[in-house]
């Protein structure tokens, strides 16, 4: 009766998924964003070791229901940019379960080696945020 087991499993998965969506959705619609509860609303932009990664508190706290102490200060220091100063702030460390990889392991959240561009916004994303989309060193170029 393999088939039945499987369908029961997928039904369960669906129900759990649906419940999560319902809870998250309900919160997102009904509630105003409170920085005291959910952390700074502005995204944290990491530029090391590569430009650039966009981290949103909102997605993780208000969206996924994590508490401040889920990450602070065990996985990340409160102070933004602190982790970037560490030499081991790399994808390799994430794969080993450090930093974002503590949850992004393919089990709790999507794995660190999947969906790269979900977090990585690139130089283009960075420039859109900081220089209104123009390259930082854009002078008069060769324009005529």
């Amino acid at each position: 009766m393999k088939f039945n087991d499987k369908s029961a499993q997928s039904l369960l998965t669906l129900l759990v998924f649906g419940a999560v969506l319902f809870i998250c959705g309900g919160q997102a619609v009904g509630e105003e964003y409170d920085e005291e509860t959910y952390g700074p609303e502005a995204p944290i932009i990491f530029v090391k070791p590569v430009k650039a990664v966009d981290f949103s508190h909102k997605v993780h706290t208000m969206g996924a229901g994590l508490e401040c102490d889920s990450c602070h200060d065990g996985i990340f220091q409160m102070e933004a940019g602190n982790a970037e100063q560490n030499d081991d702030f790399t994808m390799e460390s994430l794969y080993a379960g450090k930093y974002c990889g503590a949850c992004h392991d393919g089990d709790m959240a999507f794995a660190s080696n999947k969906r790269c561009t979900f977090c990585h916004i690139g130089v283009k994303g960075f420039e859109r945020l900081h220089n209104d989309g123009k390259p930082a060193d854009a002078g008069h170029g060769g324009g005529h």
Binding site: K51, H120, V123
Partner: protein, 252 residues
């Protein structure tokens, strides 16, 4: 000539094309379109003969060059850090107003109100049937007979920019310093030479191994293996042009 008849014509190839023929062809192009648009006069013919995803490689039993250089782009790993672009600029003295390689950005819907970011590295595709070579009036740009790299002879370039219009991949720019068109040459005079034919500046600089440079005639090379991996979709950009590009894309 009708479009139907045009489709039936045999491709006369690039080799040994006398300049008289070339001129007649160009004139013909002008008379059909008014302007020689992008070197793709034949695109007036319907695209139903486009070879599709595996356009450049499916019929090849034997690759025409040796080493037959290629680049495989593992697109879903690209994060637009642009280290490739920086490495290329430094290695090949590319000015800020131009590029030999760059990264394009796309948004692909993955839900009603959700998009996925896609970064797409682009460079010269070193086509087997390069439209740029076909239109160059001074043979300043040509296929290297050994490696198949699409080369530039700056001294012969008169800066007419017809190749820039003909290139389906927008892979050429006019370099003021040289008073000539410049483009990717797989680092043939720089990194490729230094590395003994192993890598290019961009491939070396990529932290995510997005760009895999290699030789298609070497079935043990990583590039060959990626392209020929079972159950993987490999595609080329703009296969409908019939240029038979040598830069392959996949999600790996």
């Amino acid at each position: 000539m009708k479009v139907k008849d045009l489709e039936k014509l045999k491709n006369e190839g690039l080799e040994n094309l006398p300049s008289g023929e070339r001129r007649r062809f160009l004139q013909f192009g002008l008379s059909v379109t008014g302007v020689f648009l992008g070197g793709t006069v034949l695109s007036l013919a319907s695209a139903n003969k486009a070879q599709g995803a595996l356009g450049g490689m499916s019929p090849a039993k034997k690759f025409p060059y040796s080493p037959h250089y290629t680049m495989v782009i593992r697109q879903n790993h690209c994060i637009d850090c642009e280290r490739c672009k920086e490495a290329c600029q430094t290695t090949n003295h590319v000015p800020a107003y131009g590029y030999r390689t760059t990264i394009l950005e796309q948004a692909r819907p993955i839900g009603p109100e959700e998009n996925e970011r896609i970064f797409m590295p682009v460079l010269c595709n070193h086509c087997n049937r390069p439209p740029c070579v076909r239109v160059c009036p001074t043979t300043a740009t040509y296929k290297d007979k050994v490696t198949g790299i699409v080369m530039m002879d700056y001294k012969r370039c008169i800066g007419c920019k017809t190749c820039m219009a003909a290139c389906p991949y927008n892979a050429r720019y006019f370099k003021e310093e040289n008073r000539a068109v410049d483009k990717c040459n797989f680092c043939v005079d720089t990194k490729l030479k230094e590395s003994g034919g192993k890598t290019t500046a961009c491939a070396e600089a990529c932290p995510a191994n997005v760009r895999v440079f290699g030789d298609l005639t070497d079935s043990t090379s990583k590039a060959y293996k990626l392209i020929h991996a079972p159950e993987k979709v490999v595609w080329v950009l703009r296969p409908e042009t019939g240029a038979l590009p040598n830069v392959f894309y996949m999600n790996d």
